[in-house]
Every structure is written in C-alpha cells, then in structure tokens.
Symmetry: C2
Subunit: 302 residues, 2 copies
C-alpha cells in the first residue's frame, strides 16, 4: 500500500514534483493551505474587501468559490458570484442551475449577466451572423462583461478560477506565437480606473489537483465541455505540456516561475500598450477596443 506522507493512511494522490503522497483528508488540507498561501504571497486579498467571483459552474470556479467562502468570515470578505450567460443552447442552462444551487448552499448572492441583455445578441446569434468562430466573441465579450459586472457590483477585486495548467498553456501559447502583447496582458493584475484588478487564487494549483479536490470535497462540478470548444492550438499545447510534465515533473511550475521573472522587465511595455477606446473609453490596446469593433461588425451584418 502506498501511504500518506503525513499520517501513514492509504494515499490517494502522489505529488510527483515534490515526492509527497496524501490521503484524502490530508490532500484537502494541503490543497486549501496552498491556495491560501498563494493568496497571501501575491497579496491578492485585503480584509473587508468585496470580491466578485467569476463562476461558470465548472470544477475550477466552484472550487474557488468554496475556498473563498471558507475564508470569508475570518477576513470579513463580501463575496458576489458573477455568472456570465453567453447564450449557448443546451449547455449554459444546466450549469447556471448547478451554480445557483451551490451559491444558495454557501449563502453567496449570485448575479447573472447575459450577452443578450448587454450586447443585444446571444453567442449563438453572433456565430450565425458572422464567419468568426465562437471563441473570438466569447473571449472578448466575457472578459468585458465580467469587468463591467464586477464594477457595477462595487467589487474591489475580480477572482477567476484559472488553474496552473490554464496559466501555463496561455504563457507557452504566447511564447510560441511570439505574441508579446498578450504575454504581458496575461500578467497584468494591477487594475486601473476602469479595470477591476483580477486575482487568480488557483494559479499555482495543477488542474489534476483541482479536479481531485472538487471530487473529494463533493463539489457538484460539471465536466461538460462547451459545445463550441475546439481551440485546436490550445489543445495541441496542452498535450505537449502534459507530455513534458510526465518526463520532467515540476516543469509547469518552472514555466510559471520563468514567466514571473520575466514580467517585471516587461513593465515598460504595459505602459505603452494600453490606452482608451475612442468609442467606449475602456482600456484598449488599439485605437478602438476589440469589443466595440466586433459589435460594429455584428450590427453591420444583422
């Protein structure tokens, strides 16, 4: 029997990059402890803040919500769950219900913001109106709506459920594409007058560990994939990184660490890159922001 490094009971998880093994109980303890340490280390939270939590109904966002709710009383946090309803037939409705029940259990208010209401079209309608793929619209409008929602709800921070794998995939994709702009933007969490600062408390937790935590702590998370998911390049990069990790345990962390070492040198790039959209006044890397450009494109096509 392989036994827990802490109590000697039967282990259910082997953390290869550190050599530790955990039983269910000590895995949950380790996991929650490490998320808290991450939040401390990057000073993500301050006592008494109102935190918007982006909730999709998937394992990452519900795990995040659960851990934040455990901290809420101690740190006097006010949590607001924010769910974006993109308008995807036969997909979103179920996850909205699941998220709603989970928030009710935790006693956290949930606010739903829909593409239809804010941008006049559902994602399904956008896709029909245009030749672009769904992920383009969804990425731009979800990002914008999350920020608007957090601001509207008076949140001091916006927390998202991105895990280590998400982060590392995005970093490597931008290295490979040579996309310095996105590489820098990925690391901006400072906020500005119009951008609510973002925090990613799970960014040091491998996806596998988040899935195990969700399972062990009875989080009713969906593992359904979005019907639009294709993201062939991301899939390719994900598989590549997982293969690398298999042969070089810990390499996901070294990718993240390397990126973090790089970021301070790119600070001067940030200043140059962000200005205000001529149409809506929101932060933008071009003269007009992507959201306004896409909205105009849609209204011409309609």
């Amino acid at each position: 029997m392989v036994s827990c490094s802490i109590c000697g009971k039967r282990a259910c998880y082997h953390r290869r990059y550190s050599g530790q093994r955990f039983c269910a109980e000590h895995f949950v303890e380790y996991f929650e402890g490490k998320v808290k340490k991450t939040m401390l280390r990057y000073r993500m939270l301050a006592r008494g803040e109102r935190i918007g939590v982006a909730v999709s109904g998937g394992k990452d966002s519900l795990t995040l919500l659960r851990i934040l709710s455990k901290l809420a009383e101690k740190l006097n946090l006010e949590l607001r769950a924010i769910l974006i309803d993109e308008g995807i037939a036969n997909y979103r409705k179920e996850t909205v219900e699941r998220a709603r029940r989970f928030c009710r259990e935790l006693g956290i208010p949930l606010e739903v913001f829909s593409f239809k209401e804010h941008f006049a079209y559902t994602l399904d309608e956008m896709v029909k109106l245009s030749r672009r793929n769904a992920c383009t619209f969804c990425g731009v409008f979800r990002r914008k709506l999350l920020n608007d929602a957090a601001r509207e709800l008076g949140c001091e921070k916006l927390a998202t459920g991105h895990n280590l794998d998400d982060e590392v995939q995005a970093i490597v994709m931008n290295y490979l594409r040579g996309d310095l702009e996105r590489l820098v933007r990925l690391g901006i969490d400072a906020g500005s007058e119009q951008l609510v600062p973002r925090i990613k408390p799970l960014m040091e937790m491998p996806e596998k560990e988040v899935a195990l935590y969700a399972l062990l702590s009875g989080i009713p998370a969906s593992f359904d994939e979005c019907p639009y998911a294709e993201q062939s390049f991301r899939t390719e990069v994900r598989e590549m990184i997982n293969r690398l990790e298999e042969n070089n345990p810990g390499i996901k962390f070294s990718i993240l660490r390397g990126y973090q070492k790089l970021l301070p040198y790119l600070k001067t790039y940030q200043a140059k890159a962000l200005r205000n959209c001529k149409t809506c006044g929101e932060p933008s890397s071009g003269e007009r922001c992507r959201a306004c450009l896409l909205l105009e494109e849609l209204s011409r096509a309609a």
Copy 2:
C-alpha cells in the same frame, strides 16, 4: 509534377511556411540570398573585418564557411577557420581531416585549438575524472576556447553555424526551465572588452534547409553524431517543436520573432548579470566563471 515557383522546372523543395517551391538551382540561390539578407539586417559584418569561423566539420559550419568565403572578396573579409579539438576518441580525428581539406579547397587558413593543450585534459579524460556528463565540460570549455582563439587570432567577430532550429530549441528550453539568465545570454552578441562579438548568419535558416543546401552544393559534411550526444531534454524539445511546426508551418519563426521582441526589454538584466571572474578576469555571471570552477574541480580530482 510539382514545379519551381521561379522557373517552372521540377521542384525539390517546398517551403511550407511561405508556399514557395524551388528547383535545386533556385533553392541554392534563395538560400544564399537569405543568409546574406540576414547578415545585412542584423549588421553582422563590416567591410574589411577579420572573421573567425567556428568550424566543427558538420553541415552547418561548413555551409557557413562556404557562404562567407563567397562574400569574402567582395567585402574584403579575412576569414580564419577555428576548429576546437575536444579530444574525443574515434570521432574528432575524421572531422578534423574533412574540415582541413575543405578549408584548403576554399583557401582559408585553419587553426586547431585543443582542450588538452589549453586545459591540460582531453574531454575523454575530463569525463573519466568526474561524475559530470561530457556536455557540461564541452559547453563551457568550447565556448571559452572559441573566444580565446578568436581574440588570439585578432578576429573582430566570431561566426558560428547555429541554425534556426538550434536557436529556437535553446529559446524554448530556457522558457520551459524558466532560466532567464541563459535566455538573455543567448541574445547577447554585443561583445565586450574580453568577449569577441558573436554572429550567427544561419540563425534564420531551418535545419532542413541547411542540410539540403549542403547536399545540393556538394559540401562534404558529416552527419555523424558526437558519441557523447544524449541531451535528452533538448531531444524532447526538438521533437516537440518539429511536431508543432508540422501542424503550424512557420511557428519556428514566430518563436524567434517573439524572442527578438522580448530581448530589448531584458537589456537591463544583462547589465546586472555579467561581471568579471575573480580568478581569470573573464566575463562571468558569478563571482568566478564556470570554466575556472570546473578546472579547479578537475585538478582536485586528478
């Protein structure tokens, strides 16, 4: 029949990332032209300079020597081929002979510098004296000896045969390891009082194209692998990048371009990182340089 994009004759090469196809004659013309453009673009050469060319006897370095020799008269260059004899039984001797014949044909003086003579031990002896792998010694001492040789021969520049694949592999390895120091050093070619500036005229040429050029222009290059070659991580990264390129033609270039965009932001890192070795006075990232540390280790073991 697939035909050459320029003359319509039978094509022997399809450059996937640009869609062009070339016959043998136009491939050679394209290849030489692009190497010259690269040298111009990065201002690698100046009229009348004395250039040390690192020659191993492999396809890359002999291709480099051939192209530089074609330019030598026009630009009034003085070329000096520099061959490092590491002292590897049953390997180096043959490549030294091949390089010697090739240099004689081109009328370029060849100078051989050996580990034994300069560091008191052959690479084979170093490996026997120590538990380190050969590549550690070879990397450090070859780099040092190439620089010393170029300085001793009064060269203004030191040219090496690194191709696009070599560069991109090194960049990605350092991204993945999070090794900012090596990432920066890779891009230093500015030189200093003690470091002869390095140029890499083939850095924009994919390995496949260098191999084809060598073949088509009758360069007597060896494709023998060094008997110590293992470099498992580099092999893993090489295969990974080749798979990516297969699905995303041109990605090797976008990796290189992204790195080049990053480099200017890392300039401040350079200044911090390089000082002078306390023992030999050569540029070093630590208090003492790796070469001096390794030599001391060897003399203790002997």
